[in-house]
Amino acid sequence: MAVQNKVPKGVKLDHISKIYKDPKTGKDFYAVHDVALDIAPGSFVTLLGPSGCGKTTTLRMIAGFESPDEGEIYLGGEAINALTPNKRDTAMVFQSYALFPHYNVFDNVAYGLRLRKVPKDEITRRVTAILKLVELSGMEQRMTNQLSGGQQQRVALARALVVEPGVLLFDEPLSNLDAKLRVQMRTEIRRIQQALGITAIYVTHDQSEAMSISDQIILMKGGVIAQMGSPMEIYYHPVSEFVADFIGECNFLKGQVVSSSGGTTVIQLPAGKAAVSTDKVSTPGEEAEIVVRPEAITIAETGMLPCKVELSCFMGSYQNYHVRVGDTLVKITDNCPVNRRIFSVGEEAYISFDAACAHLL
């Protein structure tokens, strides 16, 4: 579908920082600190992190609503620090949709085109095409308050898309929708982004949303980038406890390195030994921490490490266990446990995990 005629632009954040004043103490602090990013044209990048991590501030700096205190922002190779939002080739989809309540759907979507003095018949053509893309054909004359949340979301998306921005910005666009619609809409957004090949920067605090939608995730904490990489990299190779914990549930097992060779490191834990596949070479005796996801652990009558079951809970699609390994609490999700033995609280058992599924911090 030839809706997008323009070449998507790349975005480069050259070590940008933003300083705010703490309203309580009156002291300056970095809301965003030294964020360096290079977003390839046409890619879908998510800024992910807990509230207050600086992700929205970063996005608003790209849009131009805030000005960086350090560094420069480039859009398609052009420095845009001094440009006002209306002069930037960006379009933003807001958390609250920010539809114009006094316009109908058509006029909302046509707003940006009219500002650009696009001829009338071309406006009609482009608005119709984009409304078809977001599956809102036939709703042109509706007022925005006659639309459901999901439809309003689509109008907001269409309004941003129709101006063919160099980069599309999303500020937690799905947080006002219910869970089911959220899942549906994120697939939709991804489909449209792929169809148009547009560059998108997406802000969310929902890790599953980030995983499902992005080419690349930038996880932020306290104003700095904690880790960036593909969803899979971030999930299976977190660089810190924070990253591991923020992206899905995680178990941490502390111990000392016994041996490290040939891509496998063996760790001595209080309860026993465990092997981890890793490229990292460690010296024996070094402190180490194994990161292993709950679904990567199996529980059985025999195995690697002895444990005691503290919680056993049937969740429908899986059995949820909390077991004590030495002093450490380990969470396990045992998928499809019907054909296996289900352990109950107080029982002794063993846990095991594959060396390839574990990761060393």
């Binding site: 350090e70 209306n86 958390q95």
Partner: protein, 695 residues
């Protein structure tokens, strides 16, 4: 770490938006020029004293036609030569002065008077070559430029009629800074009396308005009222003062209770009743202002959670006990707030004390009389205006920053559920009857006005006649309506647009000086009209800073329109701000992000979203302007006839029939304006105002 880069970028972005920059600059100039500047001129005038030193001028009687004489009798200085007047102090207490005349002396004002004396006068002058000459005073008026510091005193010159002109005197003005004016006016009996009167009046009006307003609010919120008529009556009573010009109640008070009053004389047979004075004003002001209190307190009472009072009842408190121990303490800051609002209104009120005050002068009327009366004491009037200004400002600050916050703190949020209304007959009957009585009285007062215009001769002949209306139209009625209407209708869109722009900037934009804009537009709310009027006289009669710049607007319709705008701006801004706070900021951000500049965002998104507020600002300004009197009465010139000033004029002359005829039509016009507003808002108003979501 430093915020320098973002500050620089923000500045760059700010100046990259010329529409907004220009708007803000214009706004600053407007507010500075028409609010801050006149008020600061008052301050200056109260401490900058013009001294008047008496000099006699060498002037001779003669009969020649010639203009300049030397001592030898030749024609004096050539064209453009500098000439001086030799001024000597008659009692020898001051050194001689050579007054540079720049081909004028400022004595031109004396011309007419001197001609009356029958003989031509000559002024002895010395030119730059030290030659003395005599100028025929009859020619001096032809010279336009008057050196500012040398001005003759008209009155003294007038005293010269028929006297030996050799003793012609001039007063040489010079300026000096002093704080003496304040001690002077504080020793002045008239001022002290007026100040005392103003405070007593404010206190009494505040108190009575509070009591009646509280009664109405309590009955409305707590008591079950059966009849629909009484509900409707409440609404009418609360709306009447908004619709009516400020002095209507004074008029009807005189009509009903004055010496020839319908009630006092006709019904009760009292022939010597005297409504003029303190109690007259208190009654009229209370009836005018209590609806404001009623509406304020009604809102507060509705916010009190009924379960609190039910809990007290449940623990055994009587209804009276609940009222005094729960309801009243909760309301206390709100009551204080309402009291101060009324107090300020009463202190600033000009029209009622003017019409019904008699010899009971308040600050507002005293200032007016100082300026318009025989003693043109501008320093005194300015100092009094400063006192009045500080009085209202002080009250306003307490009200705004202390009581309003406290009110919000104790009574925020909504009542959890519907209140059980009081059905108890022993409570219901007396309270309802009392309210109905007061309402009926207010309505009666308003009805008296049109009848005052329709009766042939109030107090004597109660047959219907149109003679007062005829007299009104014969004596410039059409012009008065045309002028008032035209000026108000010009002021309305300006005010409405300006207040929406101010609210937009204050709520949605970040820039230096935003606080100042907010403060100044709020300040205008606390400034009494009389003070503003005096400020405009002092600020513009001689042009900006007495330089003559912008002097041309003085005495024109433009200055009246500006006064209307300034007087209504705070009301419009307040409603605009509260409307804009309801709108999610990302709606405007999104338009901005799509490529619209500030001007476009405002016109295409903001204004349509707050058009209700805009429209009500339009009508409010119109109504306030067409009924305004306190500031404009000081500024109006015979070129413009204003309805309100005409009413005041006729009321002062005792021609109440014509005054009522004007007032009747004025009420009809304002009522029609409000009616139109309500209809338009009902059919074209938006219910689709976006509420902030998420977050």
């Amino acid at each position: 770490m430093s915020k320098r880069q973002s500050a620089a970028l923000d500045r760059k972005k700010f100046f990259g938006d010329p529409v907004m920059v220009i708007t803000i600059v214009i706004l600053f100039i407007f507010l500075a020029l028409f609010i801050l500047y006149p008020l600061s001129m008052l301050l200056v005038d109260s401490v900058l004293i013009k001294s008047n030193d008496l000099y006699s001028v060498g002037a001779y009687a003669g009969d020649a036609e010639r203009v300049y004489y030397t001592e030898n009798g030749d024609v004096a200085a050539e064209e453009n030569a500098q000439i001086f007047a030799l001024l000597t102090s008659p009692d020898g207490s001051l050194p001689d002065l050579l007054a540079p005349l720049y081909r004028s002396t400022g004595l031109f004002a004396a011309k007419a008077q001197l001609k009356d004396a029958g003989g031509a006068l000559y002024l002895k002058v010395v030119n730059s070559q030290d030659k003395s000459a005599y100028i025929a005073l009859g020619d001096l008026d032809a010279v336009a430029e008057v050196p500012l510091t040398y001005q003759a005193n008209n009155r003294l010159v007038r005293d010269m009629n028929g006297i030996d002109p050799a003793t012609l005197c001039v007063h040489i003005d010079s300026s000096s800074w002093t704080l003496d004016t304040f001690p002077r006016i504080f020793k002045d009996y008239t001022f002290n009396n007026a100040l005392k009167n103003t405070l007593v009046l404010g206190g009494l009006t505040g108190l009575f308005s509070l009591l009646i307003g509280l009664l109405f609010a309590y009955v409305d919120v707590y008591v079950h009222i059966r009849s629909r008529v009484s509900k409707r009556l409440f609404d009418v009573v609360s709306m009447l003062p908004v619709v009516s010009p400020p002095f209507v109640l004074s008029l009807s008070m005189i009509l009903l209770f004055g010496r020839g009053g319908l009630i006092t004389r006709k019904l009760l047979g009292i022939y010597n009743s005297d409504v003029y004075g303190m109690w007259g004003i208190v009654i009229v002001q209370t009836l005018t202002f209590f609806p404001v209190v009623y509406l304020m307190l009604k809102g507060l009472l509705k916010n009190i959670d009924p379960s609190m009072e039910e809990a007290a009842r449940d623990m055994g408190a009587s209804r009276w006990k609940v009222f005094t121990t729960v309801t009243l303490p909760l309301m206390l800051p709100g009551l204080g707030n309402a009291f101060l609002v009324t107090f300020i209104e009463s202190v600033a009120d000009f029209a009622n004390p003017m019409i019904i005050g008699g010899s009971y002068d308040t600050l507002a009327t005293t200032i007016y009389l100082r300026i318009t009366g025989g003693t043109y004491d501008i320093n005194g009037a300015s100092a009094m205006a400063v006192v009045l200004l500080f009085l209202t400002l002080f009250m306003f600050m307490i009200q705004k920053f202390v009581l309003e916050k406290k009110t919000a703190a104790t009574l925020s949020g909504k009542a959890s559920r519907v209140r059980m209304l009081i059905e108890d007959k022993s409570v219901r009957y007396p309270l309802t009857v009392l309210c109905m009585g007061i309402s009926a009285f207010v309505v009666l007062m308003y009805i008296a006005v049109p009848f005052g215009a329709l009766f042939k001769l109030w107090g004597r002949d109660y047959s219907l006649s149109t003679r007062w209306f005829e007299q009104m139209f014969r004596e410039g009625g059409w012009k008065a309506f045309k002028d008032s209407f035209l000026l108000s209708i010009i002021a309305s869109p300006i005010t409405a647009l300006l207040s929406m722009i101010i609210s937009y900037l204050v709520v949605k934009k970040k820039f230096h000086g935003k606080g100042l804009i907010e403060f100044v537009s709020m300040l205008a709310m606390a400034v009494p009209g009389t003070v503003l009027g005096v400020g405009f006289i002092r600020g513009f009669s001689g042009g900006i800073f007495r330089t003559g710049f912008l002097q041309s607007i003085y005495g024109t319709g433009a200055i009246l329109v500006i006064v209307f705008v300034v007087r209504s701006l705070p009301v419009g801004t307040r409603s605009g701000i509260s409307a804009l706070r309801q709108i999610d900021k990302s709606i405007e951000e999104s338009a901005y992000d799509m490529g619209a500049g500030s001007g476009k965002v405002f016109m295409s998104v903001t204004l349509p979203l707050i058009k209700d507020s805009f429209f009500s600002g339009l009508v409010t300004t119109f109504v306030r302007s067409i009924t305004a009197i306190s500031a404009v009465i000081l500024l109006v010139t015979p070129r413009f006839l204003l309805i309100t000033c005409r009413i005041n004029e006729y009321a002062e002359k005792g021609e109440f029939g014509v005054a009522c005829a004007y007032a009747t039509i004025l009420i009809a016009v304002t009522y029609a304006a409000i009616l139109i507003m309500n209809i338009v808002l009902k059919y074209f108003g938006t219910s689709r105002v976006a509420k902030p979501s998420g977050e």
